[in-house]
Symmetry: C2
Subunit: 310 residues, 2 copies
């Protein structure tokens, strides 16, 4: 599975990068990097393009030994992990992607799919799981965009298990939530973690096929949206609202996101690849309140009460 996941995400990275380069008319910068402790990755980043303010498509295939603080973070979701372990051998392969467009009418999108294994001290596999998901974060809400995004993902999920979409949609709403703001990060999508034979009630082969379908549905889920929004007219005030929403994105990623927090506590991690998810620019304004009856206010209402888009 290690090699198959690795070659799958490498192909998908190429395919996605090529499609986005065609859309933007700008080439991605590619950095291949190695961790001194084992493994490495390929980061593709486009900055200040025509369509995208910042776009990152990153894969990493890393293995090594997790120190105690990282195990403690992982134990939150894997209570079976032995808390007295001083370290734990692991393998992780994943693709993650964040696209922040310039145009405030065009939504930010995030995606991440990963395969994880832990190993006993004798080298035998201890546990394995898949995790990931994708979610959409508009500054201005177009219902048809949210519906198209969710419908495309739902189709990918339904071909594997009709319970997946409802289960992972509501997991996504719960996960991408800022408790201190009482709002979701965006209009959701799907999210799942620790999916193994028992939690998904299936086998590894079928789960891999499911993750493949999810990742392959990304371009069809997002390209039609960005194509219809990237050249829409907008005002300075709308740009500023986008910047405030980007501030919320930063808050979520730095305060709550498990992946970011796990990454930053992994020794020898590549910080530039972890934080490539942050927007190029963001804004925090004291006591900003959207006007009554405005589109900005409607967005906030939807973020406070998640909608069933399909």
């Amino acid at each position: 599975m290690r090699l198959r996941m690795e070659s799958f995400i490498k192909e998908e990275q190429q395919r996605i990068v090529r499609a986005l380069e065609e859309l933007d008319g700008t080439r991605f910068r590619t950095d291949t990097w190695a961790r001194s402790n084992g493994g490495g990755g390929i980061s593709c980043v486009l900055q200040d393009g025509t369509v995208f303010e910042k776009a990152g498509v990153n894969i990493s295939i890393v293995h090594g030994s997790l120190p105690r603080p990282a195990i403690a973070k992982m134990r939150v979701n894997h209570p079976a992990l032995d808390p007295t372990l001083e370290s734990l051998d692991f393998f992780a392969a994943g693709l993650s992607l964040v696209l922040h467009p310039h145009n405030p009418m065009a939504p930010t999108v995030h995606l991440n799919y990963r395969y994880f294994e832990t190993t006993n001290s004798d080298g035998s596999p201890a546990a394995w799981w898949f995790g990931g998901g994708t979610d959409l974060t508009p500054s201005y809400l177009f219902d048809e965009d949210a519906m198209h995004f969710h419908r495309t993902i739902k189709t990918a999920c339904d071909s594997h298990d009709p319970n997946y979409y409802p289960r992972f949609k509501s997991w996504c709403d719960k996960y991408f939530f800022l408790p201190h703001r009482g709002e979701g990060r965006g209009v959701g999508g799907i999210f799942f973690d620790d999916l193994d034979a028992s939690t998904a009630n299936t086998d590894k082969e079928r789960l891999f096929a499911f993750v493949q379908s999810c990742l392959r549905s990304f371009l069809p889920s997002y390209l039609p949206i960005i194509q219809r929004r990237k050249d829409m007219p907008f005002t300075d005030k709308e740009k500023q609202w986008q910047q405030l929403r980007r501030g919320r994105y930063v808050e979520f990623n730095l305060v709550h996101d498990r992946g970011t927090s796990f990454g930053l506590s992994t020794p020898d991690a590549r910080v530039e690849s972890i934080l490539m998810s942050l927007p190029l620019t963001a804004r925090w304004q004291y006591m900003h309140e959207p006007e009554k009856g405005s589109r900005e206010e409607r967005l906030v209402q939807v973020l406070k009460e998640p909608v069933e888009w399909v």
Copy 2:
């Protein structure tokens, strides 16, 4: 002590706000707020002024009951706290201040002094301590500014105990440090926490006098600096470097700062007052590297290896 600390920080807030209004030529907005669980505060914020992009001077006097997650955060520094407690009554009074100037030659400054008490279930005092400090975060380093800032603080400390400045200066360097970047947030100042009769080897009265001296030394430590930097010429590139440094400020506050993290996990906290420390605008650029031999590079070198400024 509760009432004396409260009236002291109220007076100081007034004094500082008046001095900054005079400097900026803009009035602060004042919000008085109450927590439903007990206590409240006064937030004074100036946004998009002449000198300051964002300036917040906040006091809060709160009491209530800490829930388990907040106790867990506090236990990091108070191992004596009973981990099985479901809740803990507390009183806290403090002043905090963050000033982000427009001009990239003018440094950001932060200050916070607070008095904390915990109470047994019968209402008797369980523990008390003072905490706080102040630190300077330049985007462009002027040695004379860092020296003036540290010298002023050292004078305030030395009149109480000659060990305070060296001890709290190095505590500050350790605390305001971003491990994932391997850099300090700025050029430091002083920081201390959990200062009580035993850890400070003195009594409550003398500690209060020390905290008063520290807070009163703020205007003399910062005003001469902002006065000589606020109107300096700068380029777009220098403004952009400031924006990148503001991004680091956000990283520290959201990922590492104990006060922010404690605040965000306190139920019914006033989020706008906690996050008023964030700059109005910030930037994250993938793989930005300062040019060899530039002033930007020198700053980063100093942030990697703290300097003894006095």
